[in-house]
């Protein structure tokens, strides 16, 4: 390991605690109430007594309950299956941008939402992992959030992971401004595992409304690296409606992709409070089963 890498890690680590704290704060506003599988299974919580049927191992007989009557009872606990939730945040350069209308970049907001969701999930006993988990590691327990945050800071990969458990849940945060075919391919690959999931499109308000005027030369974020051609718009007011139409078309395509595989889709703007988005996301994830 070079010294520079360690220094960078340290710098990232120094930046993480407030992020984690912010995520915890956001997560605390969401009441945790929906959990448990509501049927007998392996777990710690008492579920029901049922009459002893032959074949049950004698060690499962609840002798205290059985002594109250003539019959033998077996104690059943509720089935508490820990679900694995894989989380992904789009690593692209388009995420590192904010307009004058917003205080946070899309990447910052996506990470905040991701960590807040992770905090909620960890508190609920679920297992959380990043989508391409570098060491196939899943985090569990409430203390795992800082480690997850640290791992997230180093995370920049496409949402593809061969090691993801079947029937796991996936939540993807990003602006999904890439062509629809790319998004569709990614989602299809994941859905084929099969996993179910949720897309959260994080957009800057300026991307929604195009609030510029006059003659403007638009440049891409990656233009210096990729040599992306700038676009000269002679009069931005004139194309605003057209742009809104295109954005709506793009979003409709994303929704169609999500609906096609039975996934959820939500839009979040960086000028809106993250709590609302988190609650909606939580409710969308929870009431299964």
């Amino acid at each position: 390991m070079s010294g520079a890498a360690a220094t960078r890690a340290e710098a990232l680590g120094a930046a993480l605690p407030p992020l984690v704290v912010a995520a915890e704060r956001v997560a605390a506003t969401v009441m945790q109430g929906v959990h448990g599988r509501r049927r007998a299974g392996t777990g710690d919580a008492f579920w029901q007594f049922r009459p002893f049927v032959p074949g049950d191992p004698s060690s499962r007989v609840d002798w205290r309950q059985s002594a109250r009557s003539d019959r033998l009872f077996v104690r059943e606990t509720e089935w508490e299956a820990a679900q694995t939730v894989a989380l992904w945040r789009e690593p692209g350069e388009t995420m590192r941008w904010r307009s004058h209308l917003s205080a946070a970049t899309k990447r910052e907001r996506a990470e905040l939402l991701l960590l807040a969701l992770a905090a909620l999930l960890l508190r609920g006993g679920e297992r959380v992992r990043l989508l391409p988990s570098p060491d196939r590691r899943a985090f569990a327990g409430r203390g795992a959030l800082p480690a997850l945050a640290e791992s997230l800071a180093r995370h920049d990969a496409a949402p593809a992971d061969a090691a993801i458990p079947r029937h796991a849940r996936v939540v993807l945060f990003g602006d999904f401004l890439a062509p629809l075919e790319e998004v569709s391919r990614t989602v299809a690959a994941l859905a084929a595992r099969p996993v179910r999931g949720h897309l959260v499109q994080v957009l800057d308000p300026a991307e929604e409304t195009l609030p510029y005027a006059g003659r403007v030369r638009f440049e891409g974020l990656a233009a210096p690296r990729t040599g992306e051609e700038p676009v000269l718009v002679p009069r931005v007011e004139g194309v605003r409606a057209l742009y809104a139409e295109r954005l709506a078309q793009h979003r409709a395509g994303l929704m169609a992709i999500a609906a096609g595989v039975g996934w959820g889709f939500a839009v979040h703007h960086t000028d809106q409070p993250p709590e609302a988005a988190l609650l909606a996301l939580w409710l969308a994830l929870a009431p299964q089963g």
Binding site: T94, W97, D175, L177, P179, D204, A206, E207, Y212, A213, G214, R215, V216, R217, F218, E219, G220, L221, E228, P230, V231, L232, V233, P234, R235, G238, V239, L242, Y243, R246, L247, H250
Partner: protein
């Protein structure tokens, strides 16, 4: 040259660029304004948008018109348009060379710009017509070179020479100019046209052959002559004034005109302030007018310059030098420490009395005698035998005047440097143990220099030193008391004189120093003294500062030479001796000595020079000259381009709303900044605001230094409240509520005592605070420093002693000693053997009694007994802080110390007399 009606173009070929303007139109039409750059991630969605509304990207037609107008203005401006070509030059069109003759002597300075404009217009015109021109200035140049005709050159090149011409502070030499013209005619025999810009004054001295007429005739002979001269205002100059007893007589000379006129003369100080103005009426047809500048002598001494209140150049300025001799006065006091104390210092009244009309020097005797003074005043200063006395004797023998004032020290130790022998001790008139009344002054004897001064009734003398009776005492007495005892005696020694006032120079022995008579007496003595001689004889005086043609002082030109001191009155101004200040530069211990060489002192009487018959006359000034329009057109073009830039920025969206808001906010801040200084002025007038100035002086009160620690401040405040209560109950003193003060911010003069609780973190006071505290102590205030950690309280405030050292580092603390057993502080009201506060057992320090300043009252008391803690009372009248080791006795003693302290601060060592009771009783017994 292209003339279009009233406008002509000097560079018409540039107008060819005008047809190219439509090209600019086309270029601007096809070039849209530069776009704004904006980073935008969803750029993909913006690609391949159908081209809608491309037209607004083009420049609007009115912006195009603006730009083309600006470009047209630039082209027109560069083509050098001239409005009214040839107007007012008075020079006919032709091909002959032009000779411009300019009078550049002193008389040309007042309307110099108009003269230059007239000459420049003629040269300009000649230049446009392609003629050649030459220039002849009639006054000698600064280098002393006689007038000469310049080479014949293209008129454009002559313009720079003309612009470099300046009026000279001396007279033109027309005879030399005529000689130069003859040489020019020999070199260029052809005819030429000439323009003579003349000042209309005959400068040749009376009796000498005239200078103007021959020159004009020679010019007329060579070709057409135009004489340009100023009309409408007479040539005026200011003659050197005549000094009379209490006024300066000023004379304004002018060439007679047919109407009554009035000139004005200003008297200015060295730094340019106007001290007086005198209106000088000049009757019709008169050659001069007189008036008087009435100024008191003190003010007159400050006047260094008289000048006409109109543009008159060097001839309107007269410099006043020191025609009367300077008489510097040296002041030496006996006790230097308190000599300047307001109202009681020995030199306080002397300084006030002498400062308005003499130059005062202060310092040690050696320093003052090292320089030259006319009068040396010793206020109660004894002169012990030794080199000092020898130097003083020499000073008097060589013509110095030594003025001495009596006092306790002189009464104890008289020395020989006195006009009369003195009896030992002093005489007291009036007072508690005397039947005699304070004596008034008798009228001054006739032989006294004070003779004739009115003797005010209210001047009385309570104490004086007495002269031993001697045969010549009467004639040595300059002033006597009503009973005949001498008050001021004087005696000549060598070339000098010793004068003795038998009273002090402050109001302690008599109220003479408070009266106006004192000032008059000192003035007579100073006037009687021999002055400090200046430089005389053949000694050269170097030029220090000289006047230029406009009457402004500046460094002397290189050609200026020194002149002998005794001939400065007779020398006329010339390039070698320009008018101005001459003298010896400042040397070690000596101020600059300077004499004035005035232009008008050496000029012949004013005579008019009538223009020759047959010459065309041209009045200068008043006629519209040619006006160059180019700069105005270019400025307008730049304004339009700036406007265009603003509009372009607006079109590109770069002048966004926040920026406009910022601009507005900036303007508001600027406006506030302009208004802010006015606000406090108004605040002072608001009724019911902070206490008016001086309210603190209405009652006696104790004060404490605000430490910044609220708890400590509260303890000290309640302590001083408790002490004030105690003092009010037990004594006749009436103390008001104590106040907190910040040294350097608050005026400390109202408080007799300052309680300073030194906290361990007390900062070092800043320079202003130190100055205020030192002044407070010097003028009789007492500061009590309390470290609150002495004796039984050791360790209560660790670090307070270091803080005390820090706080007092810059203060003028006298040498300290523990409070002696018989110190007044222990006896001022109660008899105390110890001085406890909340703590007891520590040492309390006061100033050692070596200094008799402030009646031996110690300006500081230093201790650590936390007296304020012991005196403190709470709202129910209880003492909230326990005394250590304790007991009601300690508290009582603490209060008694407080009473003694207040008495000490209020009465000084008045109670110290008790200390001497045994000695007094013993003396009475004898």
């Amino acid at each position: 040259m292209l003339s279009l009606g009233p406008v002509a173009f000097a560079a018409p070929w540039l107008l060819l660029a005008l047809p190219a303007l439509p090209l600019l139109w086309w270029l601007l039409r096809v070039t849209p304004p530069a776009p704004r750059r904006q980073v935008f991630p969803p750029i993909r969605l913006l690609r391949d948008l159908p081209a809608v509304e491309q037209t607004p990207a083009r420049t609007p037609w009115w912006l195009l018109a603006l730009r083309i107008l600006a470009a047209a203005l630039v082209v027109l401006g560069l083509a050098r348009p001239v409005l009214g070509p040839g107007a007012g030059t008075g020079v006919a069109a032709g091909a002959a060379p032009l000779l411009v003759v300019v009078d550049d002597g002193w008389a040309a300075a007042p309307d110099w710009p108009a003269r230059m404009a007239a000459a420049a217009a003629a040269v300009e015109r000649a230049g446009r017509e392609g003629r050649r021109a030459a220039l002849l200035a009639t006054a000698p140049a600064e280098t002393g070179a006689p007038p000469a005709v310049s080479a014949l050159m293209p008129a454009e090149e002559l313009r720079a020479r003309l612009a470099a011409l300046r009026p000279k502070p001396w007279a033109p030499d027309r005879a030399a100019a005529l000689a130069a013209l003859r040489r020019f005619r020999e070199a260029h025999p052809g005819g030429f046209e000439s323009l003579f810009v003349t000042d209309g004054v005959e400068h040749a001295p009376a009796g000498a052959p005239e200078g103007f007429a021959p020159l004009a005739a020679a010019l007329a002979e060579a070709g057409p002559l135009t004489v340009a001269r100023a009309e409408g205002r007479p040539v005026r100059r200011l003659a050197p004034p005549s000094a009379e007893a209490d006024r300066l007589g000023v004379t304004v000379q002018q060439i007679p005109i047919a109407a009554d006129a009035e000139a004005a003369v200003l008297a200015r100080t060295g730094d340019g302030r106007v001290l007086a103005r005198a209106a000088v009426p000049i009757a019709a047809g008169a050659a001069e007018g007189r008036a008087a500048l009435e100024l008191p002598l003190e003010i007159r001494n400050q006047v260094v310059r008289l000048e006409l209140d109109e543009p008159a150049g060097a001839a309107g300025v007269v410099l006043l030098d020191e025609r009367f001799r300077r008489r510097p006065v040296g002041l030496v006091a006996g006790g230097e420490g308190t000599a300047d104390a307001p109202l009681i210092g020995e030199l306080f009244y002397l300084d006030r009395a002498l400062a308005p009309f003499t130059e005062i020097r202060r310092g040690a005797l050696d320093q003052i005698l090292a320089r030259r003074v006319a009068v040396l005043v010793l206020a109660d200063r004894t002169v012990p035998e030794g080199p000092e006395r020898e130097r003083l004797e020499r000073f008097v023998r060589e013509g110095g005047t030594l003025v001495r004032f009596a006092g306790p020290r002189l009464a104890e130790r008289p020395d020989p440097l006195l006009p009369v022998a003195l009896r030992a001790g002093e005489r007291q008139l009036g007072g508690a143990l005397s039947w005699e009344q304070p004596q008034r002054l008798a009228a001054f004897p006739d032989h006294s220099p004070f003779a004739g001064l009115p003797v005010p009734e209210e001047v009385t003398v309570e104490r004086q030193v007495l002269a031993e009776p001697a045969p010549r005492l009467a004639e040595r007495s300059w002033a006597r008391l009503a009973d005949g005892t001498p008050l001021v005696t004087a005696d000549a020694r060598g070339a000098g004189r010793i004068v003795l006032f038998h009273v002090t120079a402050n109001a302690e022995w008599s109220n003479l120093p408070l009266s106006g008579l004192f000032v008059e007496m000192l003035r007579r003595i100073v006037a009687l003294s021999a002055g400090v001689a200046g430089v005389e004889g053949e000694q050269p005086l170097a030029p220090l500062e000289t006047l230029d043609g406009f009457g402004r002082l500046g460094p002397a030109p290189p050609a200026a030479a020194a002149l002998p001191a005794n001939r400065i009155e007779a020398i006329a101004a010339s390039p070698r001796h320009p008018p101005g200040w001459y003298g010896t530069p400042a040397q070690e211990g000596e101020a600059t000595y300077r004499r004035a060489l005035n232009l008008t002192a050496g000029l012949p009487p004013l005579r008019a020079a009538p223009p020759p018959a047959g010459a065309a006359l041209l009045p200068i000034g008043g006629l519209p000259a040619e006006r160059d329009l180019g700069p105005w057109l270019l400025a307008a073009a730049f304004l339009l381009l700036a406007l265009d830039m603003l509009v372009s920025l607006g079109l590109r969206g770069l002048l966004s709303a926040p920026r406009r808001a910022a601009a507005r906010a900036g303007a508001a801040v600027l406006l506030l900044a302009l208004l802010a200084p006015a606000a406090p002025v108004q605040a002072q007038r608001v009724p019911g605001g902070p206490e008016p100035e001086g309210a603190a002086a209405l009652a006696t009160r104790l004060a404490y230094v605000a430490t910044g620690d609220a708890a400590v401040d509260e303890i000290v405040r309640s302590g001083l409240v408790g002490l004030s209560d105690y003092v009010n109950r037990r004594t006749a003193a009436a103390l008001a509520e104590p106040v907190a003060v910040v040294p350097g911010r608050d005026d400390l003069a109202f408080y007799p005592l300052l309680y300073w609780a030194v906290t361990p973190d007390a900062p070092q006071p800043d320079a202003r605070a130190v100055e205020a505290l030192n002044a407070f102590m010097r003028h009789g205030g007492i500061i009590l420093f309390d470290t609150r950690s002495e004796g039984s309280g050791e360790g209560f405030a660790p670090g307070a002693r270091a803080a005390l050292r820090r706080v007092t580092r810059d203060l003028a603390i006298p040498p300290l000693a523990p409070v002696p057993e018989d110190h007044v502080l222990r006896r001022a009201f109660y008899l105390l053997s110890e001085l406890p506060g909340r703590f007891a057992g520590g040492t309390v320090w006061v100033a050692r009694e070596v200094d008799r300043a402030n009646d031996s009252v110690s300006p500081v008391i230093v201790g650590g007994h936390d007296w304020a803690g012991a005196w403190a009372i709470d709202s129910r009248g209880n003492n909230p802080y326990a005394a250590i080791p304790g007991g009601a006795r300690q508290r009582t003693l603490a209060y008694r110390f407080g009473v003694n302290l207040v008495m000490y601060a209020l009465t000084g060592n008045y109670k110290g007399d008790q200390v001497h009771v045994p000695a007094i009783l013993e003396r009475l017994g004898n």
